[in-house]
């Protein structure tokens, strides 16, 4: 089986979110970048499936040169090779177009990625790639087993889950508990240095909904503390001041 995992390069979940002075770009000063947490679940599951069924696992990222350490980390975790599509990921449509093109070229049976990136939270790329390639797409997938050409999945729905069956090839946007995050070991880190990482150019520049300006929410006021022996005061505040009851 040929597996493709799409990886986002995103600020660590503890990062302070800031923008440049003119509010047109994310300010990367002092920010540590990681594999998107949802993509990390997809990658972990992909490594397990590759080990279980044989075949190959390719990690792909649409990003400029600074995302390479993130792709190398995917190789250290267990991907066999990597593709970087050399462009800033301008919007979901732009990214989906690139992935669809290279996924088609590579003839992958299973394409996994996170349910959404944690920067733009769009959650659209898997569905777009699915429609572009005429493959079924599923998200958010929390369990995925491959038996021959049949894929058994659980998809999270409001207040529960739904169990599904479909045939390869397909695309899934993943979330926990599909697998446990894998931490690269020394051998993985060493071998990642020499695994192939191919850089290719974008196949289209087309965009549909680029983000042009950014804004931070207004700062939160100080908390109002209520004494633990006077909880009815809290009820009054919620009712009369916050007006949420």
């Amino acid at each position: 089986m040929k597996i493709l995992v799409c990886i986002t390069h995103v600020p660590d979940t503890t990062s302070k979110i800031q923008f440049t002075a003119d509010n047109t770009k994310f300010d990367t000063t002092g920010v540590q970048f990681i594999i998107g947490p949802y993509d990390d679940y997809a990658l972990a599951r992909a490594v397990e499936l590759r080990d279980q069924t044989g075949g190959t696992l390719t990690a792909l990222n649409v990003g400029e040169a600074e995302t390479e350490p993130t792709l190398r980390k995917s190789l250290a975790i267990g991907a066999d090779d990597a593709i970087r599509i050399n462009s800033f990921p301008k919007d979901s449509f732009f990214v989906a177009k690139q992935i669809a093109h290279y996924a088609k070229e590579g003839g992958y049976d299973l394409i996994l990625m996170g349910r959404e990136s944690i920067d733009f939270n769009g959650g659209m790329v898997h569905g777009m790639v699915g429609e572009l390639l005429g493959m079924p797409s599923f998200s958010p997938v929390m369990k995925l087993e491959v038996e021959g050409s049949t894929v058994k999945m659980a998809r999270e729905i409001e207040g529960g889950k739904e169990y599904l069956e479909a045939q390869l090839p397909l695309i899934a946007g993943c979330q926990e508990p599909i697998a446990e995050w894998k931490i690269p070991n020394m051998r993985g880190i060493m071998s990642a240095r020499t695994k192939p990482l191919k850089v290719v150019e974008p196949v289209s520049q087309e965009t549909q909904a680029e983000a042009t300006r950014f804004q931070l929410p207004p700062a939160k006021g100080a908390v109002k503390l209520v004494d633990k022996d006077n909880v009815s005061e809290l009820v009054k505040l919620l009712k009369n001041e916050a007006k949420v009851l």
Partner: protein, 322 residues
């Protein structure tokens, strides 16, 4: 011309978040002069229930009552909605963010060559360009995205607009859609759903417990408090990781993102990844025995105290008041 809204229903009722999407579309149509608001409903649901969508601002509901659409088969729903979009000559599709809605809309973005924006928090600016404000970085910031295509899809975040309730009734028309076997290539074999409870992603009040609750046997007091408030229950990630609570209750960066009017956090420290899932709440109450817990910095109201003492008292006080 009209704005099309993809509405979802569960247990015979149109979802409240879908009614919010209709309200959003109604305000949008008034702003852009796009004419009437038409909703599309798929699968078995009563006509009177569909007619009530008019209150939120739809003048017509198209109903594709093919029983095969009762299951949320993503591709089939996308095909059906695409046909409805063409049949009413819409340029804009509005929907509420949801597990099914997100998956369907992403495919529709390609089918309809429509620029799509998700997590929309307010009506777009449409005088010169088409600028849509969306929540990004899991609620920590906003972006303005410019849609440059003629067709557009807006997936609306909860609480983006007030629910409209003063519209007239809507007419309900059957719509027959052509669906092929390939639309049903995937099969939903079974569904597990908590019934009779308030669903977390749609709840107006959420009561959440963290590791400070010590064990699953202590969730009774969380549930009692939730019941008095008509609230949904949630939890922090470690709580669902250890299996004290089901995964669909896990709130935060890697779990459900909630946007209730009131979020009550009990025995949760307020790690940044948890806050990422709750920062769209209108009002946050924190109950924690540690005055230094970071959650207090993100709270509107707080009680420093032992949850086992405070929560039952709060439930009693609410019973007396409500």
């Amino acid at each position: 011309m009209s704005v099309l809204v993809y509405i979802e229903h569960a247990d015979g009722k149109v979802k409240k978040t879908s009614l919010e999407a209709v309200s959003f579309a109604s305000a949008l149509a008034a702003q852009t002069g796009e004419g009437e608001v038409v909703a599309i409903a798929l699968g078995t649901v009563d006509s009177p229930e569909l007619a009530s969508v008019g209150k939120a601002g739809a003048s017509k509901v198209l109903h594709a009552d093919d029983v095969r659409l009762n299951d949320g088969v993503i591709q089939a729903h996308a095909s059906a909605v695409a046909q409805a979009f063409a049949s009413v000559g819409a340029k804009t599709l509005v929907l509420a963010k949801s597990s099914l809605g997100d998956a369907v809309a992403a495919r529709l973005a390609i089918k309809l060559s429509a620029g799509m924006v998700s997590n929309v928090v307010e009506l777009p600016k449409t005088s010169g360009g088409y600028l849509v404000k969306r929540s990004i970085y899991t609620g920590k910031a906003f972006a303005e995205s410019e849609i440059t295509t003629e067709n557009k899809i807006l997936a609306v975040k909860k609480n983006a607009v007030d629910l409209k309730t003063d519209g007239a009734g809507a007419s309900v028309e059957k719509l027959s859609v052509a669906l092929s076997d390939s639309d049903f290539a995937s099969k939903i074999t079974s569904t597990e759903r908590a019934t009779g409870e308030v669903l977390l992603p749609e709840a107006d009040i959420v009561v959440s417990g963290g590791r400070g609750m010590k064990g699953p046997e202590n969730w009774g007091m969380i549930e009692d408090l939730a019941r008095v408030l008509g609230a949904a229950t949630g939890c922090s990630k470690p709580v669902s990781d250890i299996g004290w609570r089901p995964h669909h209750e896990h709130v935060g960066q890697t779990g459900v993102k909630v946007a209730p009017s009131l979020y009550i956090a009990i025995g949760i420290s307020g790690a940044i990844q948890h806050l990422a899932g709750v920062n769209s709440s209108k009002c946050i109450v924190v109950i924690n025995k540690d005055p230094e817990a970071p959650f207090f910095k993100a709270a509107d109201y707080g009680i420093v105290g032992d949850a086992f003492e405070v929560v039952p008292k709060l439930t009693e006080a609410l019973k007396a008041e409500l």
